[in-house]
Amino acid sequence: MEGYAYARPTSVAEAIGVLQADAASGRRSQLLAGGTDVLVQMRSNDREPRTLVDVKHIAETNRVDIGDEEVFIGAAVPSAVLNENAQLKALFPGLLESADLIGSTQIQGRASIGGNLCNASPAGDTIPAIIADGGICVIAGPGGSREVPCEEFVTGVGHNALGAAEFLLGLKFKTPASGSGDAYLRFIPRTEMDIAVAGAGVALTLDGGGACTAARVSIGAVAPTALLVPEAAAALIGTQVDAAALAAAGAACSAAASPIADKRGTVAYRRKVVGVLCRRASAIARDRALNNIGGSQ
């Protein structure tokens, strides 16, 4: 790790100013939220100087707004804070569980879902959960803010859609309708402190009779980026999310996966397990949705 500059903007405009100045001078900027990925990367033989632009002292990146129509989660809100928000936990239990899977208790005091998303790891646990929940990335830049669906935000391993002078302000979700439920499951060989071998996020809505009217399914760690799997959603929609539908959704995820073989698992293993996870996560989401039918969340 070599020397670096540190900027701590307290407004969106100031942050963009720092990013623009770096871009103009050719100096590398590194956005920093909790730093739980960035600092580790800097210490592992990345010797290039850069400016750390710490975005967690900006009001907008720390907001959590829960409205009747929309929910906004600031990009730098730590996982531990999210998981203490009972209202948020009732709306998006799967999303919050995905955040709760990352790192130890101490790490969760800093780690954020915005950071997890920007880090753009194929195995990032919150990404399939955000995609399943229909998350929209709100991006601040010199020309104002723009919005990108989460499934389009991560463009490759370690790459995202942010331009040179842009940063992620937060994530926007539609407030879930009555009868909705979400879930995220990952597979790791241990119980914690590990990286997903495969992951599956599911969000669905049931009507009063328990039939699935809407669903989104996303899988992680089985392709360069988390994938939205419309075929799996289609297998659930219109069904009672029974065993046959779960099996079909699982099969659709296995088919959609294009994993690599590496030290964490073979192609065949990941393909198979991602289907199992989709099935199990869909069942959890269904049960949560059944508990929410008729209730205002």
Binding site: N45, K263, Y269, V273, V276
Partner: protein
């Protein structure tokens, strides 16, 4: 069950003397020492698993601002007597594994040192690597060492097999012919690292007279002294080694990697040099234990009497000879009383890091094979696996497969305790499997020294030379307190450096509480003898007329003297008037380290859709001899079990086809985390070792031996078929389930 005795200190569970400093962060570990003007050393490591080194040029690195010294193999004495250890610390003509040290620099900051490494020019001629025992033993295999001949037999062609060892008794063919049932297991166990949390670290300085001082984390500073002297061509008298606290070793810190390099860089720069390995370096370049390929075969009569057993063992040594296959051979059949057996072990070179000791070196792999076979035999016979072992168990008077006749041992008591244990008698839960296995380690004695110094207020300082890895200071204090008859709190134990205490062999082989404990007990007896003389002089009686009881000198019954008892404190206070300070000393070459047997059993559950195995319960039952500090004995049993479970379930070195380790970090080298493990239940069996005054046996190594087979056998029970190889990682288990379904 514990023998009846009336010990006052031994068998209690006081707080460890080093505990406060360790939990408050005051304790100093290997990387904690800083000296004025100190430089930071970094190692350049081979990017090839096997290559000839044609040229090393450090001149560009030396020219860099902030770089003070650089060295490579040519800077160290090299001749026909150069040891493997020296070549492992710094490669000479060949790099023998990916990560092998080829050069080093010392610079003002670690960052400058890292950058300087990029400027060192090394010309390699890459060679094909040989990466496992089967390839290494095949005809026409690439040779790791072109001059190596099996067992040093010059009439044989060069080979990767450094040694073949054999243990035999009776006629094994006849024994198998007599058997009604014969089972065989063929299995591979992967390379596993000790996983100590503290990386290797040292700071070294040397003066113009050639006198060096080394601070480091080690299991044996006397060994660091002699090994460093060997690599540098110095006398041990020129080197002083000061051990820091140690953040885990498990055998892996019984040898050296950095120390002679740091001394050399200090000599070149005229400044102190600190070297600290990264975790990645620890994985790539320090000694794990051997990956193995083992075959075990056992035959028995219908009634369960074993008629013959045989084993073929092949152990990876890494790049230099010295796999722990001998101890594997010694352990594999030790629990059994057998008429006919044969064991053949192979020490095999491959292009991987030189293996180092790891907790009961070699025994877990070998016993995984045989205890799996014994489990299969019990199934074939329809016998309870404990009953089968009871029918064949070694006991006092049994001749061990490796020669000696066992004195009192606790294996049968462990088996009987298992049968009565509530975790064993309770029915296993639906869908789970239960597996049993036996464990063994012979333990060692070797050389130790100790002093016990009586202070003027009657407190006692024990000084000995074994770094405290597992609570040995507490055990020394307890044995000293018991011997002297004083409270535990009045005794402190200090681990002295190579110049402040007498010679001690390493903290290893589960020898410290036994052998150094023996020296401590004798040093305290020396104090008692001197105290009795002081009392006799005070009372004007013959020393034969003085007894020592409850921490005080008293006249023997019937001795006609009007005298109050003299406590240790009284004698200490008046020492100046009765002959001067009182200093007890002892040095021993301890004989009769007691073998420690165990029985472990596990309940596991398998997720048949993901292949994940959860360990629901685990019970370790072990003969510890007398448990000096039962909580630390239990801690050893639990810690060894967790390491064994980690090895059984997920731990393995994963190499690519070029011999590059792909998982050189704790993220993907998966030791268990706390939440992976059930509470490890323990039961201590105390069969005192007749060769120790308090009956101590080595404790720390046996606990890692049985968990591999116990887990494998439990998985066999849950799955309905055996997966012979380890680890039982989810991908391997799921593939086996799928193959079984297809079959």
């Amino acid at each position: 069950m514990a023998e009846a005795h009336d010990y006052k200190a031994i068998g209690t569970r006081p707080v460890r003397p080093d505990g406060v400093d360790k939990v408050t962060g005051r304790a100093n570990f290997g990387a904690d020492l800083n000296l004025p003007n100190m430089l930071h050393g970094k190692m350049l490591r081979s990017p090839h698993a096997h290559a000839r080194i044609k040229r090393v040029d450090v001149s560009r690195a030396l020219a860099m601002d902030g770089v003070y010294a650089a060295c490579s193999g040519g800077d160290f004495p090299t001749n026909e007597r150069t040891t493997d250890l020296a070549k492992n610390c710094m490669a000479r003509d060949k790099a023998l594994y990916h990560g092998h040290a080829v050069a080093a620099v010392a610079a003002r900051t670690p960052y400058i040192a890292e950058r300087a490494l990029d400027l060192i020019e090394v010309e390699y001629e890459p060679l094909a690597p040989v990466l496992d025992v089967d390839a290494a033993m095949a005809d026409g295999a690439v040779l790791v060492d072109e001059n190596l001949r099996t067992n040093g037999d010059a009439s044989k062609p060069p080979s990767n097999v450094a040694a073949i060892v054999k243990f035999e008794r009776g006629d094994v063919e006849q024994g198998f012919a007599e058997a009604d049932v014969v089972v065989e297991v063929d299995c591979r166990v992967p390379t596993a690292h000790q996983g100590y949390i503290e990386p290797h670290a040292c700071t070294a300085t040397i003066n113009e007279e050639g006198e060096a001082t080394v601070w480091c984390c080690t299991q044996g500073h006397f060994d660091v002294r002699s090994l460093t002297a060997n690599v540098l061509g110095k006398s041990v008298g020129e080197i002083k080694v000061i051990p820091s606290e140690i953040g885990g070793g498990f055998g892996g810190k019984t040898i050296i990697y950095l120390e002679p390099i740091a001394v050399k860089l200090s000599e070149m720069s005229g400044r102190p040099v600190k070297m600290v390995m990264t975790r990645e370096e620890v994985f790539r370049a320090t000694g794990p234990t051997s990956a193995t390929h083992c075959r075990a075969k056992v035959g028995a009569k219908r009634d369960g009497k074993i008629t013959a057993a045989s084993a073929w063992l092949a152990y990876e040594a890494g790049a230099f000879a010295g796999a722990p296959v001998g101890p594997g051979c010694m352990s594999i059949l030790a629990p059994y009383d057998l008429e006919h057996f044969s064991i053949e072990g192979h020490d095999v070179l491959v292009n991987k890091p030189k293996v180092a000791a790891y907790r009961a070196p070699g025994a877990p792999q070998a016993m995984h094979a045989m205890e799996s076979a014994i489990d299969d035999l019990a199934r074939e016979l329809g016998m309870d696996p404990i009953d089968l072992r009871l029918k064949n168990s070694a006991d006092e008077g049994t001749q061990a497969p490796y020669g000696p006749v066992f004195p009192a041992i606790g294996f049968r008591k462990c088996l009987e305790a298992t049968k009565a244990h509530p975790n064993y008698t309770k029915p296993k839960a639906e869908g789970t499997g239960r597996g049993v296995a036996a464990g063994f380690w012979f333990n060692i004695g070797m050389q130790s020294s100790a002093e016990a110094r009586l202070s003027e207020d009657g407190t006692v300082t024990v000084v000995e030379g074994n770094p405290d890895i597992g609570g040995s200071r507490a055990s020394m204090c307890l044995m000293a307190a018991e011997t002297l008859g004083v409270p535990y709190e009045t005794v402190r134990t200090h681990v002295g450096d190579t110049e402040s205490t007498g010679f001690c062999n390493v903290t290893g082989g589960s020898r410290t509480t036994f052998a150094t404990g023996l020296a401590v007990v004798q040093a305290c007896e020396d104090i008692i003898a001197q105290c009795k003389q002081r009392a006799a002089a005070t009372w004007d009686v013959d020393v034969e007329q003085v007894d020592w009881a409850d921490g005080q000198a008293i006249p023997k019954p019937g001795v006609n003297v009007d005298a109050n008892p003299l406590s240790l404190r009284d004698i200490a206070k008046n020492a100046g008037r009765t002959g001067g300070p009182i200093l007890g000393r002892a040095s021993v070459n301890a004989q009769g380290a007691g073998a420690s047997f165990s029985v472990n059993f596990a309940d596991v559950k398998v997720d048949r859709e993901t292949g994940k195995i959860d360990v629901l319960s685990f019970t370790g039952i072990q003969d510890a001899g007398t448990a000096i500090h039962p909580a630390y004995v239990e801690g050893q049993m639990q810690g060894g079990a967790v390491q064994g479970l980690g090895w059984a379930l997920n731990e393995e070195y994963i190499y690519d086809e070029n011999g590059v380790m792909e998982n050189a970090g704790f993220l993907d080298y998966r030791v268990p985390v706390a939440s992976d493990m059930p509470m490890i239940d323990t039961q201590i069996i105390e069969v005192p070792n007749p060769s120790h005054p308090y009956g101590v046996r080595g404790v720390g190594e046996t606990p890692i031996v049985a968990p591999l087979a116990a887990t494998s056998n439990a998985a066999r029970d849950a799955l309905g078929f055996r997966i012979a190889d380890l680890p039982l990682s989810p991908p391997r288990v799921l593939e086996a389930i799928d193959n079984q379904a297809d079959a």
